[in-house]
């Protein structure tokens, strides 16, 4: 029983972190319809930023993550504004191709700059854990979980409650029309992409604190984001968090009751089944297919 509770709790915490990893990806894909293959690279880069500032001035990662967020925001904004915007009116998967190139460059650049060694951001407390009866609550992961929940809520508020959010949605749906409303589409796109990158950066720092990372990990995080974003449902800012939690729990539970590595198979089975039952994800909302015909 305790081991079930322990697994459940751990799965939840893990899931929260997964959600944070994917939320930016989901935003960019669901709203801007850009599949950002460099997302994983952003995550890892964020981890390095967090690690670097910790290494230099011993900044605590839970502060460092804001530095990472800022740096990645800047990078993301610039990339979208002066590079990706150049091709957004091209065919569907052109941005995928572009970000594929970006991913190659960033990952290799990190390889050269930081070497392929495994890193992790040391803290005095992240490894400790609180005791609740028989089960342990790892402190670092608990904090990370908190961060990802807060971030998700903040993002929801931004998108659904603010003018900026409205302009983001509108631009994502019809760039030309948005411009006719006086919205600076180029800027809004860059802003959106920047926010996504910033969140990736935060997630990266979290990962660096509770786990380890190196450049090779990037592609893994991209793949993960893919699955989580879609499982949760695109275009809904809660989607990533929910998708993350589901994956986290499924894997934790499967880990207890399935032999060997069938866990991984199960996670994907869940994904496929969910999609067949709910064609636009758990809480997803497909704008474009609002009404296919008038």
């Amino acid at each position: 029983m305790t081991s079930f509770l322990q697994a459940t709790l751990y799965g939840l915490l893990q899931g929260g972190l997964l959600g944070l990893i994917a939320v930016g990806f989901s935003l960019v894909w669901g709203v801007m319809n850009i599949v950002n293959l460099a997302h994983g690279a952003f995550v890892v880069l964020g981890a390095y930023v967090g690690w670097q500032v910790n290494d230099w001035i011993g900044l605590d990662p839970f502060l460092g993550m804001f530095v990472a967020a800022a740096v990645l925001f800047g990078l993301g904004y610039a990339l979208q504004r002066w590079l990706i915007n150049l091709v957004v009116n091209g065919p569907v998967f052109i941005t995928l191709l572009l970000t594929f190139g970006l991913d190659l460059m960033i990952v290799q650049a990190m390889n050269i700059a930081f070497s392929a060694d495994y890193r992790s951001i040391p803290t005095s407390y992240a490894g400790d854990s609180l005791h609740l009866g028989g089960i342990r609550v790892p402190l670092g992961r608990l904090l990370a979980f908190g961060v990802s929940v807060v971030v998700t809520l903040a993002l929801v508020a931004l998108v659904n409650r603010t003018r900026t959010g409205l302009s983001i949605m509108a631009t994502g749906m019809d760039r030309a029309a948005a411009r006719l409303m006086g919205i600076r589409a180029r800027h809004v796109y860059a802003l959106t992409f920047g926010i996504a990158a910033g969140l990736a950066g935060m997630a990266g720092t979290m990962i660096g604190t509770v786990g380890t990372f190196n450049p090779a990990a990037a592609s893994g995080y991209t793949l993960l984001s893919f699955v989580i974003a879609v499982l949760g449902g695109l275009g809904n800012m809660y989607g990533a968090l929910i998708g993350g939690l589901v994956i986290g729990l499924v894997e934790a539970w499967a880990g207890q009751y399935l032999p060997g590595t069938w866990i991984n198979a199960l996670a994907f089975l869940v994904l496929v089944v969910v999609l067949i039952v709910r064609p636009s994800g758990l809480v997803g909302r497909a704008y474009y297919a609002a009404r296919l015909e008038v």
Binding site: L86, N89, I94
Partner: protein, 315 residues
């Protein structure tokens, strides 16, 4: 056709290593073409296309090792099995739209890889499986570099041919119509489900054949590689770079990208990936619609300037 002859002529000029490089190009030509059938023409991007590759490969490996079938039998069966699998998952998955279809297929691919990894008895699991190519175990003599060169060349030719036929046929029209507007296509009497599933199976067939051949060429295969999502990504990248929804696009894309990455890898060992990324980015910015489409548009409008091209697609 000319290309085919050229490729045949080329062979005698190559050392076996270069020969292998060119063989790899053929392999990706076939793969890219297969992906383009559904992803390019109908706009249903399968991000799990590699699953057919893996199924074709593992079927061959298992059948040759455990059931002692000849490679040629396995090749055909491997393709067929992949096609059937395509039809099977196509039924439910092809109801999904755009992104969701893409990821559902990705999920299937990753899932099947895990299944393969978890059946060590049959597939050797993560430790990989080695096809019988030496001694009395061998059911078919190993083809050697020359053999595989020809076989992959044949597959590439087949893929291009199929793609060409589809493009000009009723099916081609229907797929393009579906790409533009599935509702309207149905209103024009197109049984969209049927054509999508059949096309998916067809592209599965080709991919499966390639996978089977690849497995035999590699002798020892591992799930990580046979279901490697990178292979799918490469297919997409090649199609897009060449020009999706065209017959020549995937061909051009595969040749350019494969040749380029090979060249860079050999000459800039320590930072070739970086260069490759940079070159891709430049190419994308200059020719967002893909090389082949750019030329077609340019010929139609007489507007060859790349700057104008950039202006057309930027926000």
């Amino acid at each position: 056709m000319l290309l085919l002859l050229a490729a045949l002529g080329l062979q005698s000029q190559l050392y076996s290593g270069q020969e292998r490089t060119v063989t790899a190009i053929f392999m990706f030509v076939a793969l890219a073409q297969a992906w383009n059938l559904l992803g390019g023409y109908a706009g249903y991007a399968s991000f799990g296309q590699v699953v057919f590759f893996g199924i074709g490969g593992y079927f061959t490996a298992v059948a040759m090792t455990h059931w002692h079938l000849s490679f040629w039998t396995c090749l055909v069966l491997g393709g067929v099995v992949a096609a059937l699998f395509g039809a099977l998952i196509g039924m439910p998955l092809l109801r999904l739209r755009g992104h969701y279809f893409a990821i559902a297929t990705l999920g299937v691919a990753e899932g099947i890889r895990e299944v393969v990894t978890n059946l060590p008895g049959l597939t050797g699991g993560g430790a990989g499986i080695t096809l019988p190519t030496v001694g009395d175990q061998a059911t078919t003599a190993y083809l050697g570099n020359d053999g595989f060169y020809l076989l992959f060349l044949a597959l590439a030719a087949l893929a291009v041919l199929v793609s060409g036929l589809v493009a000009g046929s009723r099916a081609g029209y229907a797929l393009r119509a579906i790409h533009q507007d599935e509702q309207a296509a149905a209103a024009m009497g197109v049984n969209t489900t049927r054509i999508k599933v059949l096309t998916f199976a067809l592209s599965g067939l080709i991919t499966g054949l390639v996978g089977a051949t690849y497995a035999f060429q590699q002798v020892t295969i591992f799930p990580e590689r046979l279901f490697d999502v990178d292979i799918t990504v490469l297919m997409v990248v090649m199609v897009v770079i060449g020009g999706s929804g065209t017959v020549l696009g995937p061909l051009v894309g595969a040749v350019i990208l494969q040749f380029l990455s090979e060249y860079l890898r050999q000459n800039y060992t320590s930072y070739h990936i970086f260069l490759l990324g940079a070159i891709i980015i430049v190419a994308v910015v200059l020719l967002p619609q893909g090389a082949v489409n750019y030329l077609r548009d340019a010929r139609r409008t007489g507007e060859y300037s790349l700057l104008a091209n950039v202006r057309r697609y930027r926000l």
